[in-house]
């Protein structure tokens, strides 16, 4: 594993400066977990910045935790000011949340880190990193690390070829088999920066289309519905796929819609601070639909 200790030190220094200077109340970064990997860390005290790390195991998209920081810890107080360590893919989620009015730009300090791609527990490059040429976050308050020289990668959506070659019934059978393993733990939804509804429509007590049963029909509807709700909003961080205890290839659903959105609208979520055209331009003049 490539350990960029210099960059890790810059993250610690930056965190210390922000906390000591009273610029933020909390820095969300990474620390070493008990089994050697990286895990999210919340640093409130400058003395604790030594816990912070940066390496290729820092896979988590920490932007999702900004939702927890929207409310004040106690009534009558201000919500905390937060700094968050963001890789290029994570930073796209910042743009989506800004466009959707979910976070206030001045309350969030984005510690952008340059990225050379991440690795899984076995040391293999993550699939999302193989098709990603972004080495610098799209939004940041400070940029740490030298952007490495990389030649741009053309995203040919090669990952989608397998399911797209299938006929409709074969594809349905493929997905039902995948969804059969789903345990409806909602980890995919909970980890997603774009899934922040107070009450998910798939979990309403008075749900019209879905009940609480953990059965294939409900799981099928949940996963397809969630993918649609993320059309033009999914930043392709693939966190949903990483956290799935049953290894359901959820990125195939999201990326199918990502491609559709790119072809129809030239839109790729989070590249800029704009809303998904699918939800807000449907039926307008000039809309391709």
């Amino acid at each position: 594993m490539l350990v960029n200790e210099a960059l890790a030190q810059q993250v610690r220094d930056q965190a210390r400066e922000l906390l000591e200077g009273g610029r933020v109340d909390c820095v969300i970064g990474y620390e070493t977990g008990p089994r050697g990997g990286a895990r999210p860390a919340f640093i409130y005290d400058a003395a604790d910045v030594t816990r912070l790390i940066w390496n290729q195991a820092c896979v988590h998209n920490l932007v999702t935790y900004l939702h927890d920081k929207k409310k004040p810890p106690r009534r009558g107080e201000q919500p905390p000011r937060v700094a968050v360590v963001a890789k290029p893919c994570d930073s796209r989620a910042v743009n989506v949340l800004l466009a959707e009015g979910q976070i206030e730009r001045e309350r969030v300090f984005v510690i952008g880190v340059t990225c050379e791609g991440l690795e899984d527990e076995e040391g293999a490059a993550l699939p999302r990193c193989l098709r990603c040429a972004d080495r610098v976050p799209v939004v940041y308050d400070v940029l740490l690390g030298e952007p490495p020289e990389v030649s741009p990668v053309e995203d040919g959506y090669g990952d989608l070829a397998g399911v797209e070659e299938m006929g409709a019934s074969e594809r349905l059978a493929f997905w039902l088999r995948e969804f059969d393993r789903c345990i409806r733990c909602y980890a995919c939804r909970q980890v997603c920066p774009g899934c922040y509804c107070t009450t998910c429509m798939f979990e309403r007590d008075d749900g019209l289309w879905i009940d609480i049963g953990i059965e294939v029909s409900q799981k099928h509807l949940f996963h397809l519905g969630r993918a649609l709700h993320l059309a033009g909003r999914c930043v392709e961080c693939d966190e949903c796929e990483r956290v799935c205890p049953m290894d359901i290839p959820l990125s195939l659903l999201n990326r199918r819609l990502t491609r559709e959105m790119e072809e129809l609208y030239g839109h790729r979520a989070g590249r800029e601070e704009v809303l998904t055209p699918l939800l807000f331009e449907l039926g307008e003049e000039g809309s391709p639909i």
């Binding site: 008990p34 919340f42 393993r181 409806r184």
Partner: protein, 334 residues
């Protein structure tokens, strides 16, 4: 010791599937899970720890409790209870401690849970000892062991050329009467139990730690998903709902279902009017930990944790119950 061969075990299992619902470890697209099997050929005999416990077959993730039919003015209510016996094969010892824990509440408190006790009564557990502790396992710190026969009906242990067979209960003896075994000298190798013991503090040590910052430290990164509770052999919270399955001319059919619920989810404690008494992640992690190590043992007897380690290895953000236990031990200074 009594020993059976893999071939003998297979042919015996193939006779059992005709008479019982048989559940056994199966490779499901790369995941070893306890699943129903129709032949012994589907069973995996060499595996670590199935990714989900046997809970699903005693307290199903989704279970139809009642079927209600309204035809004209006539209403009929039918209870849904399986009529076949069930054999769960290849149960890891920790997975037998799971239902034993749930029994303390669902069987031993009044009134017993009809559906759970029905599944318990119809089920025989055939265990398969672990040769070692797997990643995250700490059964030896919570009263178990990789080859513990307690709460199983039969325990199998791997030996050269087959499996040593220990009959634990009458029920188990009756079931395996047809299994071909031979008497052999010697005893199975003891499992390796290397690994640091996890300190488990008694329930009363937890009380002063209710307001400690342990919960913030470990709970803040929680995602509020349900993985830890669903993979847990002892988590038993459920929700009940009625659903209309058919509504037509003069006929309405309704099912009452019981479905797993999870105290880690955001809306678990939401009450009428919208108030949520466990509104944050740290508070919910505290409750889950207190439930396992203080409330449950105080109220019903057994610890709410069998040390299977599933919640540890499956948590996407590395919340580790043994780290929590270490902190509790450290803070309580015992």
């Amino acid at each position: 010791m009594k020993v059976t061969t893999l071939d003998a075990l297979r042919s015996w299992l193939d006779t059992v599937v005709g008479e019982y619902d048989v559940v056994a470890p199966r490779d499901v697209d790369g995941h070893v899970l306890y699943r129903p099997v129709a032949t012994s050929g589907e069973i995996v005999f060499s595996y670590e720890r199935p990714e989900l416990s046997v809970k699903d077959y005693l307290l199903p993730a989704t279970e139809v409790l009642l079927r209600v039919e309204k035809r004209g003015g006539e209403v009929t209510v039918e209870e849904n209870l399986a009529d076949r016996g069930q054999v769960i094969f290849g149960v890891r010892p920790c997975d037998a401690h799971g239902p034993a824990t749930i029994d303390a509440l669902f069987l031993e408190q009044e009134p017993p849970d009809t559906y759970y006790s029905h599944h318990r009564a119809r089920t025989v557990l055939i265990g398969m000892a672990c040769p070692q502790l797997w990643e995250g396992c700490f059964c030896t710190s919570v009263g178990g062991a990789p080859d513990d026969a307690t709460h199983l009906d039969v325990l199998l242990r791997r030996v050269d050329g087959g499996f040593a067979v220990d009959t634990v209960t009458e029920k188990g003896a009756k079931l395996i009467a047809g299994l071909c075994v031979e008497e052999r000298d010697g005893a199975p190798d003891a499992p390796t139990t290397e690994g640091e013991a996890v300190p488990v503090m008694p329930p009363d040590a937890w009380r002063p730690l209710f307001g400690d910052n342990i919960w913030m430290r470990h709970g803040e990164r929680c995602l509020s998903c349900r993985i830890c509770t669903y993979v847990c052999p002892t988590c038993r919270c459920f929700d009940v709902a009625d659903r209309v399955v058919e509504q037509g001319a003069g006929i309405t059919r309704i099912e009452r279902i019981r479905v797993w619920d999870a105290c880690t989810s955001t809306n678990y404690r939401r009450a009428a009017g919208g108030h949520n008494s466990r509104p944050t992640k740290p508070v919910r992690l505290r409750n889950r930990s207190f439930c396992k190590f203080r409330y449950y043992p105080e109220d019903y007897g057994p610890l709410g944790c069998v040390g299977c380690g599933r919640c540890i290895v499956s948590c996407p953000v590395d919340i580790d119950i043994t780290e929590v236990l270490q902190d509790v031990a450290e803070r309580s200074g015992r």
